[in-house]
Symmetry: C2
Subunit: 297 residues, 2 copies
């Protein structure tokens, strides 16, 4: 059985690495904040001393951290994976980062005979815990196939979508949809609220039809309870919007709807709502409407 | 069994009235273009001579036509329903029209002892044919309950959402979601296409997750085949956007996302695409992107 290294034991990484242990993969873990390793070590993982050290002891090195610069540090830094990984090893970056950075890292690893896959996920901490993530994978097909049993321990919908960086592109595609669908829910609820409709009834009448979406079903239901707590945090989505914005600038691609979503989330940033869930976009809609949605609840 | 009158035998009205016949309701029909009555008369409906005449012969008078002014003409015009309906009769307007106009009509009918329900539908011509429409109903609760068996012959999700006009409000709420969700699909596909991803793979990877929506599943699949034929026509959605715009102006409610959707559909209008399906919004996204999405197919 392949030896797995796992770097980044945040809300996502913790659930995912525990699922790898459950599937009996030998696991070496590392996290910048060392205390976060404890639950994994208790569950049977070995302790890595650095990303480099994890790589020395693993066939497949997975990382899931926040941003492009974090991934660069972990893979290419002084104590990075690139200095420990054996030729033929595979680095699997499951973070959501820039597709451009992804291709640069893949090229540097390739020069040392190390393979790379970009494999960002969708499905949140619940999906990570329950092993039901969607995983969109970019990189060479045969490398993907070698790693498939590992992905299957963590996710349900696993699709190889193309070469290096394409996993990231599809993830950003996912995030374009997520943001506009969420804005749709917020504007529809603000409209219904202002018109004095019973929101619960309106929700029941439309949730199953052509207006339906995952965002309406799930974040819509949260809004009906006035619940702004995260599933997916505003600050993480703001990062994704920045990645979309960087990537579309590179492509010379204007996307008006997505650009509006970015401005709406900037309002949330200005209002100090970075740690709320993305359904808090209702607060930006309210700000612009000079009225409160929640009074209708 | 209540005697039903049915006015407006277009794509929607035809399927709905045939379902009423199947449920054994005695039916009198009328349509401005008389030839469209033929299939109903062949199926056992009686021929009405005018909206007034239909109303004289019915306990419940249903209409489904295009716009606010059509409904006013049919109900309040010289040969209108108001001049034939008995006190205690119910007028059920299943068109999508202005909630403000709806309330005005309800008030005029009320002075003659005639009840009114606004009961717009969602689910398209397929839903009309198969009797699976969503029906969102505004008006008095006991009148709604009296008419429930009639609605059940035409639809599946039937919700009483509030007083006069509230059915229309919830329908517009539905249309806010439909438009932004469709724009989301178009921008996501344009992004994926420009980045060179295999669109079919991208679609498979994201359709079942947090990015999912009815619009992605259905109109997204059509776009993957380059199919711009209607389901729901651009020109009908442009009318709904006008109703949303009128209603939000009255409410003093700014909705930036919905307003952007309206401008995108104005591009389709300018491009002569009124008879295409709403998924043709990809053409507006392409116009702004100065690039073609379809080349990726």
């Amino acid at each position: 059985m392949k030896k797995i290294g796992f770097i980044g034991l945040g809300l996502m990484g913790r659930g995912m690495s525990l699922n790898l242990l459950k599937a009996n993969f030998p696991l070496t873990v590392w996290n910048r904040t060392r205390s976060k390793m404890k639950p994994l070590l208790d569950a049977g993982a070995e302790e890595g001393l650095s990303p480099k050290n994890v790589a020395e002891r693993s066939d497949i090195i997975i990382d899931i951290v926040t941003d492009s610069s974090d991934v660069e540090e972990i893979i290419l830094g002084d104590e990075g994976v690139i200095h420990g990984a054996k030729p033929g090893a595979v680095v699997v970056d499951m973070s959501t980062i820039s597709p451009i950075t992804t291709r640069q890292i893949a090229e540097k690893l390739s020069k040392k005979g190390i393979h790379m896959l970009d494999a960002p996920v969708s499905g949140g901490d619940v999906g990570a815990r329950e092993g039901t993530l969607s995983i969109m994978v970019g990189g060479e097909l045969d490398v993907f196939q070698d790693c498939l049993p590992v992905f299957q321990a963590m996710g349900k919908t696993i699709v190889h979508v193309g070469g290096h960086g394409m996993g990231q592109i599809v993830k950003l595609c996912n995030q374009i949809l997520v943001g506009l669908n969420m804005l749709a829910v917020a504007e529809a609820f603000m409209f219904a609220s202002k018109a004095g409709v019973d929101l619960q009834k309106a929700y029941s009448a439309i949730v199953g039809g052509a207006a339906g979406s995952w965002q309406l079903t799930n974040n819509g239901a949260k809004l009906l309870k006035g619940d702004l707590e995260p599933g997916f945090k505003v600050k993480d989505y703001i990062k994704d919007l920045r990645l979309i914005s960087e990537t579309t600038a590179e492509m010379k691609l204007p996307l008006l709807g997505t650009s509006l979503v970015q401005q709406m989330f900037r309002i949330l940033d200005a209002e100090g709502l970075r740690d709320k869930g993305t359904q808090a976009v209702i607060k930006a809609v309210e700000k612009i409407a000079c009225d409160s949605f929640l009074r209708a609840l």
